[in-house]
Amino acid sequence: MFANFAIDLFVTAATFGRLVTGQGANYFLFIAPGSNLITAMVAAFQSGRDVWREKYIKDLTSYLLTLPVQRPVLAFSRVLGGVVRSVIATFPGTLVICYLYGILFTPKVFVAYLIVGLFSLGIVGLSMAVSAFSSSIEMWVTIRSVIQLYLSFLSTLFYSVNVFPQLLAPIVSSNPMTWAIQSFRQLSPISFAQVPAGDSLGSILILAGPSLAFAMLGTICYIWYSKL
């Protein structure tokens, strides 16, 4: 995961940072948190894939039914487990971004992890919900890829919302990645011309909405499809 992040950041983002100029601030720093959030997204989706493999490849459902734990608790713990895994997978990446943003030795570093965790919560929930409705791995991979395309390219990861045609603006504004990356950028003392001023609390609260909803959806779908 860190290797993926490093390639994204130190190859792609660094190169685009040199290509895109005249945007009012360092473009590399503008897109840098995106590398970490993409890694978080990939790690979070891995949880859904594991759940799918448990069901269709490893046939672990009957074993899971024998566990001495309440079913809703088990289901939600799967979501939380995915979040923890995603935060661990992005742990060094988050530190690198915090270093680049000059907030590594400030309490804001904890807020950075909170953002990654909240974002991952939504994606883990979403990926588990996708697992519930995908009868083949090809379908699962397709839906995952579509969601990843939406999160990556129809968000403010690479450009600000006003660059998009007006038709796409609502889609971009309702993208969880938009709010995750905005809250990350608002942690930085650097003022990006494309990012609204203010602290990241407002953006985090907006991010929390879809994240909690997706986590709930993932839990319900897990209970339903595992026939727990």
Partner: protein
């Protein structure tokens, strides 16, 4: 997993000795082409990724790039075709790994076809299906950018085919040399990311950081991208890039065949 009816009938009825080896190799290759096109989800996903990358990402980001003499949208359009063919060529590795996991490989080995033909057929199939898959995207870019010289287009397609052939060999090498499913996923994804991103497919070498620009010219994706651009935009042949591509094909096809052969024969070469 399903198979071409023609393959089943061709392989089951006549004796092996009477079959032309070229025909058997093509039967194997056609099976791989058929397998990819019977999984429409993969085609839909990668086509969608191409469309969004080109018409959303490249369109929007090119408005932010103001480098004199660089038409970034055109640069990215050609590069995204090259990156996509590299990406789709890697899929053969997943197929081969899955076949081994699910036991389909055992069935394939019972077919009346020599190991050598089997391996060459797989590699050729991987490359053929990638080139078939990429042609509509290539046409989209050709229409948008006005590439109309038949020789240039043929030369660019040849570069793409060589890349696909080499990447297929690389993917087979990884698929048969890594045993853990998770490790295989990680290695292949990382390899795919590294050869595409650290290349001149998506951005010019002049803008890469020094530590990338040192290696980028030697990426097979760079060879194919440089060669395709030279043909389509400059109407010339980039001979060093083509030589690099041929070397890449020879090395990885050889390695892929050797590793695959060793695995099929329980570690024994013959």
């Amino acid at each position: 997993m399903s198979f071409l009816p023609t393959l089943a009938s061709a392989l089951s009825s006549p004796p092996l000795a009477k079959e032309s080896s070229t025909r058997l190799v093509f039967q194997m290759a056609l099976r791989d082409v058929s397998v990819l096109f019977r999984t429409p989800w993969i085609i839909i996903t990668r086509s969608l990724a191409f469309v969004i990358q080109l018409f959303v990402f490249a369109y929007l980001i090119s408005r932010l790039i103001n480098v004199p003499g660089l038409n970034f949208f055109q640069y990215y359009a050609v590069g995204s075709v090259v990156a996509t063919i590299a990406s789709i060529s890697f899929v053969i590795g997943y197929d081969i790994f899955e076949e081994a996991e699910e036991g389909v490989l055992d069935y394939l080995l019972t077919l009346p076809i020599s190991r050598r033909q089997f391996i060459i057929g797989r590699a050729l199939g991987g490359a053929l299906r990638a080139i078939i898959y990429i042609i509509p995207m290539f046409l989209v870019v050709a229409v948008i950018e006005g590439f109309a010289q038949p020789l240039s287009i043929l030369s660019a397609l040849l570069s793409l085919f060589l890349l696909a052939f080499g990447v297929t060999g690389m993917s087979i090498t990884v698929a048969v040399s890594v045993k853990s499913a998770n490790r295989f996923d990680v290695v292949l994804a990382l390899l795919e990311l590294a050869v595409s991103r650290a290349s001149t497919a998506l951005y010019p070498i002049a803008f890469m950081p020094l530590y990338v620009s040192v290696f980028a010219p030697f990426s097979p994706v760079s060879f194919a991208a440089d060669s395709a651009r030279a043909s389509l935009v400059g109407f010339t042949l980039d001979l060093p890039a083509i030589v690099g591509l041929v070397a890449f094909v020879v090395v990885f096809l050889g390695l892929g065949a050797a590793f695959y052969f060793r695995r099929l024969e329980g570690g024994i070469y013959s």
